[in-house]
């Protein structure tokens, strides 16, 4: 296989699509992000990265909290909108119904089936981005997206960004921590 060297860029992988929520000047704001990921399972730690100057960043810095909301494919228009338009130019507080956890730290989106409230543990400054690393301190899932009390990807129906398209989950290719067992050499 011939390898072509391209200009340095983030590798072409699918990216999970989440909507970050934060209070900015006391108002609910939402920002759609693919620059999200898990840093630790136990304790649960995630991050979002947002370009410096984004309206949301100031709110996260001030409050010390953000939320992660996982939109279903049916929310694609609103999801894309929240990545297209800055809270500086448009009031995004009305686009979703907010709910809060124990305190009014950061708005979570009722319409999204999965919601996590995160407390900023550390901020990493990159040349053009603020990376907010957060401990998950509250976690909610729609009742009808659970199967045997476990969040069910098929019911959640999340989106990934692949190239310039949002895509739904495709068919199961194999089971994690099982598919590779056949290659383990027996002593």
């Amino acid at each position: 296989m011939e390898k072509i060297q391209l200009q340095n860029q983030a590798p072409a992988t699918p990216l999970p699509i989440v909507i970050a929520g934060a209070l900015v000047d006391g108002k609910e704001n939402y920002l759609t992000i693919g620059a999200y990921g898990v840093m630790s399972i136990q304790p649960p730690v995630v991050y979002i990265s947002s370009m410096k100057g984004h309206y949301t960043n100031a709110g996260i810095r001030k409050s010390g909290y953000f939320s992660i909301n996982v939109p279903s494919a049916g929310l694609i228009k609103k999801t894309d909108y929240c990545g297209l338009v800055s809270g500086r130019d448009a009031d995004k507080s009305e686009i979703f119904s907010a709910f809060y956890g124990k305190k009014k730290h950061a708005p979570m989106i009722r319409e999204c089936p999965v919601n996590a409230l995160c407390k900023v543990a550390k901020t990493v400054e990159l040349p053009n981005n603020d990376v907010f690393i957060g401990d998950v301190i509250e976690y909610y899932v729609d009742k009808d997206c659970l199967t045997d009390k476990v969040p069910d990807p098929k019911k959640i129906d999340p989106l990934v960004l692949a190239g310039r398209s949002y895509r739904k989950l495709g068919r199961v290719a194999g089971a994690a921590f099982i598919a590779g067992k056949a290659l383990i050499k027996k002593p």
Copy 2:
């Protein structure tokens, strides 16, 4: 919709599956990871998070480099195997064909259609994980996975981890930065 509060955990999103490569004691080693993400598009910065004590971590710390390799769905058995078995217990150097960039910093996987060489810019210590943040300094894509010189997700055929299953990409739900345009209010 009734929201159920669950024990705090990483939110249920699909995670991109990549195989990290590193030299450990001069030998090629590979570790499959879902704790990967993009932190900056320009300049390109990504991270991987790996539990402290993982064999790979020592190699990344010592060399200051790691690679990101994107496996196609056809590589699912080897991909899962590299997440199941530690390099401490099994020699994983023979499972793939390694290639190197300009210098022998970290092995990239010839069989994976997308490869990035990353130089560690910062390491964040979490209670149980090392988070290696790396600048992408070389980037390679298989020639037959390009369409008009751009990496093509359909040809790359990557995997995401959703719950306990690896899944292929599903159907296109919409176009990024276009699907939401209809909601922009005209002045």
